[in-house]
Subunit: 237 residues, 2 copies
DNA sequence: TCCCCGGCTGATTGGCGAATCAACGGGCCG
DNA sequence: CGGCCCGTTGATTCGCCAATCAGCCGGGGA
């Protein structure tokens, strides 16, 4: 059925135009009310099309989300992979590059990023289609590989767990973006984004690159001695 | 449902016992399938009680989640507040204390932590009851205040945004825990947790405490010179 | 002994929303 | 001109699940 582009080339265009309209509407609505918090009718209304048309282009509600996510995520991942696997750059540049990719994506389409963070990164693990969860985990693993390689060249402190480095970096970026998404950062202008990006990358790098022992490390060694028994921490009766 | 014999025990005891059983079951089921992915019937079955009893103790499904979250979160927050607002400790100790609280909570009850991360931290912003989202944001703000105070005493680099520091710390902790929750870290023994906690706290501190310029910073200054034009990063057609 | 009371039960209901489907219209081809 | 093809429409159907409610059971008081 796909061969039918017979109508003028405009027609073939038209079809995907509709589809794109619906996809765009889905992103906006998902960002606003969340996947579970919205009805297909909302998406249709937002897109200005009939209810049934959504089902003409997408098998069901889940496929709609899947498409939104896949589109946004695959672009993000491929850019990130390009950065992470580039042979000739230093770890530092790679880390900065990854922050670039993430923040640039947010600058270009904040709502799409919001959906990705909300529906992919934090989707209830077990339940959902595994592919989403998997894609996210694979990305972290990719970063972990990058860090592992950097260790072998001495660009990264040897005593760190690469997987944790990856978690740390992504966690910082993700919550950094969340601060913008959720309104924690009042200033959301491009310069504020830029500053945030730099602070995150720089703080992260400072923390994991090899270098002289910092006060932090020194005191860590004697933690138990100096602080004795801390009042408490955790426990939960 | 076969447990009928124990009527003789203290009646007052029994009521709250049942209630706690249901709450516990809810945590387990939410952790396994997510709030939206499970039915009240699942919770009842897990608890080994009749469907209707859940509604005897909780007004509706949402109140059930609310109770789970409030219980777990309030304990976490109060511990954290105690650490963050303690007058006589250094920023360093506070940060380590916060990591302690979070990782200890996970060690004690991983499933409860999973529910908190999934259903509180990343709940679709707009839709849900605001209180949940709010509680989370307030916690981050509390940490941001802590960092702001530390700046005024010179314990924290002055050029950092306190709110971003808080995001960075929580992001690192959260994704660190997520790595365990999701199975990214194969070793989930207590020692692995301990190591992860230390690495996260140490890397974070190294990154944000004042100190001599690190290689990271030094090389960052000349980045553009040494690397020329980076291919690209972000764009999205 | 009987009856009330309250914790407890689970079949039933009601509503919501995903997914279906029969029909429409307008372009295109023969 | 007439028939067909398909993108489009939106009322209708259907299944699911939260929430209800009429009633059960067993203890304790009269």
């Amino acid at each position: 059925m796909s061969q039918r582009q017979s109508k003028s080339e405009a027609a073939g265009n038209r079809e995907s135009e509709r589809r794109r309209t619906i996809l765009r509407a889905a992103i906006d609505v998902f960002a606003r009310k969340g996947y579970h918090g919205c009805r297909i009718a909302d998406v249709a209304r937002e897109a200005g099309v009939a209810y049934g048309l959504v089902y003409h282009y997408f098998k069901n509600k889940d496929e709609l989300l899947e498409t939104v996510v896949e589109t946004g995520w695959s672009g993000f991942v491929s850019r990130m992979r390009a950065v992470a696997e580039e042979e000739s750059t230093s770890l530092e540049e790679k880390v900065r590059g990854i922050a670039d990719v993430a923040f640039e994506a947010y600058r270009v389409d904040p709502r799409a990023v919001k959906v990705l963070i909300l529906e992919v990164a934090r989707s209830p693990a077990g339940t959902q289609v595994v592919s989403r969860q998997q894609a996210y985990l694979d990305t972290i693993r990719m970063a972990a590989d990058m860090f592992a390689r950097a260790q072998s060249t001495g660009e990264l402190r040897a005593d760190l767990d690469p997987m944790l480095c990856a978690s740390l970096l992504f966690g910082a970026i993700e919550l950094g973006l969340t601060a913008f998404v959720s309104g924690l950062m009042e200033d959301r202008g491009p310069e504020a984004l830029e500053r945030a990006k730099l602070q995150i990358a720089e703080s992260f790098l400072r923390g994991v690159l090899p270098g002289a022992a910092t006060p932090a490390e020194a005191s860590w060694k004697q933690e138990k001695v100096s602080s004795g028994t801390r009042p408490k921490a955790g426990k939960r009766s």
